[in-house]
């Protein structure tokens, strides 16, 4: 086989039929372009939505759950072992709200190589006081810098910063809803009263907006020490431990193990947010289904045009065969034409897809729910561009194969005799 000759014949065929070539290529271009746009936009959105949940949700959350004892005294008594015991009006046992041995557990977790980080939290019930009004609230006492490293909390801080909280001992990052209701802003002092009646003045160093009104109206962040002080507790008082792992898949087995090991409640992210993965998977599936449908349409376009071309070129095929081109050479001529259409259309599609993605990426998209997002999220993963061009080549190859094989089988004698 003599490739340069075959290529030059293909090229001449394509160039002398510019209109058809362009039409066929544009089919591929639209298919690939739409695929790139769809997949970039969809996965961008997916990643952002997943990120919203995954980033700020601990992979494992350890806390003390208040529940009634599963075993009542009567169950332990041998005398009643064989009988059917009914205990009515069981009340939960009074227990401490803090995690027993919180600091050693924290140390244990931090030394585990599978753990990316573990942070303590103190949740304090408080009232925000403004004049005569008292607003119900919760203050999360956290190690703010660790919290930011692991759970990207600063994505939701719309005024002020985490650093300021770290620097200000009696600082507070207040929920946006609370700030609005009390008309306070960073720099102001807010009075906090605790259920036990103590009053603390805290300095507002930032405003936090998660996008969920229920949270923003209630929740604020303060330093761990501040929260412990509010509750009048020492620094080994920890109510929750949030753990982030390197590998999300380990969350379930590890949380079960930790719950047994330390005798506390542990919940993993998959149990807490099971619906999320399903949502992402289905969105991806739709993206690929739509793209493949578009490419199949483009493929039929190529198939049609090549079929027409071969019909028109019967005489040429006969003459090529008569002058010594083999059936395979003829097939290659048309395959090369299909692939050139595929490559040209595909690359143009990638470029158009990229340009439109950039435009989408710069389109303003402001929503209450996502305070730090200013434009539509777009994923520029190069993998999708590789998939796109491979798609284009496979489609055009398949679309070109059948017509090209037909050309291979054409009997020159029949054509020449038919004249």
């Amino acid at each position: 086989m003599n490739f340069p000759v075959i290529f030059s014949i293909s090229r001449t065929h394509l160039l002398s039929r510019m209109k058809q070539t362009v039409t066929a290529s544009l089919g591929v271009t639209f298919g690939i372009g739409a695929f790139i746009i769809l997949v970039s936009f969809m996965t961008g959105l997916n990643e952002m939505l997943d990120g919203l949940i995954l980033n700020r949700t601990p992979h494992i959350h350890l806390y003390n759950q208040i529940t009634p004892s599963p075993e009542q005294p009567v169950d332990l008594a041998d005398a009643f072992k064989s009988s059917f015991n009914v205990v009515q009006s069981i009340k939960p046992k009074r227990a401490q709200t803090r995690i027993h041995n919180g600091l050693p557990i924290l140390n244990f977790l931090r030394n585990d190589s599978r753990v990316k980080g573990a942070v303590p939290q103190v949740v304090a019930q408080v009232f925000y006081v403004s004049g005569s009004i008292e607003l119900n609230g919760i203050i999360n006492g956290v190690d703010i810098l660790e919290e930011d490293r692991l759970f990207s909390i600063s994505d939701y801080i719309v005024q002020g910063s985490t650093l300021e909280l770290a620097r200000t001992e009696n600082g507070i990052i207040i929920g946006a809803g609370v700030a609005r209701k009390m008309s306070v802003k960073p720099g102001d002092i807010i009075q906090i009263t605790t259920p036990s009646g103590n009053i603390f003045p805290l300095k507002i160093v930032g405003v936090y907006e998660s996008g969920l009104a229920d949270i923003d109206d209630i929740q604020s962040y303060a330093n761990l020490k501040t929260a412990q002080k509010l509750l009048g507790q020492s620094d080994n008082f920890i109510t929750d431990i949030n753990v982030k792992l390197h590998d999300l898949e380990l969350a379930k087995p590890m949380s079960d193990k930790l719950a047994r090991q330390f005798g506390i409640a542990a919940i993993d992210i998959n149990s807490a947010n099971a619906q999320f993965e399903t949502g992402s998977d289905i969105r991806n599936l739709i993206t690929y289904a739509v793209s493949i449908a578009l490419l199949i349409v483009a493929g039929f376009g190529i198939y049609n045009i090549l079929n027409m071309l071969i019909y028109e070129k019967m005489n040429d095929i006969a003459i090529l065969k008569a002058t010594g081109f083999s059936g395979f050479d003829v097939k290659m001529i048309f395959m090369v034409e299909a692939l050139i259409i595929g490559i040209a259309g595909g690359i143009l599609g990638l470029i158009i897809g990229y340009v439109v993605s950039v435009i989408i990426d710069h389109t303003p998209f402001e929503t209450q729910a996502l305070p730090t997002i200013k434009t539509f999220p777009v994923n520029f993963n190069p993998l999708y561009y590789i998939i796109g061009i491979v798609f284009a080549l496979v489609t055009t190859f398949l679309a070109g194969y059948m017509p090209a094989s037909r050309a291979q089988r054409i009997d020159p004698v029949e054509i020449i005799r038919g004249q």
């Binding site: 000759v5 014949i9 001449t12 003459i319 065969k321 008569a322 002058t323 010594g324 083999s326 020449i416």
Partner: protein, 225 residues
């Protein structure tokens, strides 16, 4: 006596569709090097069919075919296309140029397929052939833009580009006026005498045939003379 270029032994051919029809019956003959042979006969006597078999394009026959002593019957399509490319020139009744290509490119194609020479050498050869046929000035024109007589000459130039052992023509003068017809005949004469190329020409033209070295006359699928 010069060497035998083409030999047909007991060639039989049937058309099976729509009904069995014995179109070629026991055809045997030889063509010597540099010999100018014409094949005559009425329409439908099978002379074109014979030509397609001899040109190796039609492989559906019984009998044996030799080119330069090499047996061609039973070879695969790919092997035969290589043989056609290198040793057989074919000129059709209709001119059959590739319309999107220039005259020069049309002539060059079989040589580029053969791939024995560089593009520059092939281009040079192709120009030589075109000049030989007095159409060197049309080389850069598109094949669709030249006249019928010119196309015929381009087709002959293309058939000659790989210096074949034998040139087969199906009614090469069928569409030409007597002037052009004469030109083609004179050219063939020269090719046979000077380049020692064998020629096998199917024709209806008695004047043309009478001036060739030998006439093979066919009737009802047989050689009668």
């Amino acid at each position: 006596m010069s060497a035998t270029v083409l030999e047909a032994r007991n060639i039989n051919k049937h058309f099976r569709v729509p009904v069995d029809y014995h179109v070629l019956k026991d055809i045997s003959f030889r063509v010597q090097q540099g010999e100018f042979v014409s094949v005559m006969g009425k329409s439908g006597c099978g002379k074109s069919t014979l030509l397609y078999i001899l040109s190796t394009m039609d492989t559906n026959y019984e009998g044996e075919l030799f080119l330069n002593g090499e047996k061609l019957s039973g070879k695969s399509g790919n092997e035969l296309s290589i043989v056609r490319n290198a040793h057989i020139g074919f000129v059709f009744q209709f001119h059959y140029l590739l319309p999107e290509f220039t005259v020069l490119e049309n002539v060059m194609l079989p040589a580029r397929k053969l791939g024995k020479k560089t593009n520059e050498e092939i281009e040079h050869d192709a120009m030589e052939k075109l000049k030989l046929l007095n159409i060197g000035d049309k080389a850069k024109k598109l094949a669709v833009r030249i006249s019928g007589g010119e196309k015929q000459r381009v087709a002959i130039a293309r058939a000659l580009i790989n210096n074949p052992a034998i040139l087969m023509c199906d009614e090469p003068t069928g569409n030409l006026d007597s002037q052009n017809s004469d030109n083609v005949f004179n050219l063939f004469r020269r090719l046979a005498n000077e380049k020692k190329i064998s020629l096998l020409v199917v024709t209806h033209d008695h004047d043309f045939a009478n001036r060739t070295d030998r006439i093979i006359e066919m009737a009802d699928g047989k050689i009668v003379k």
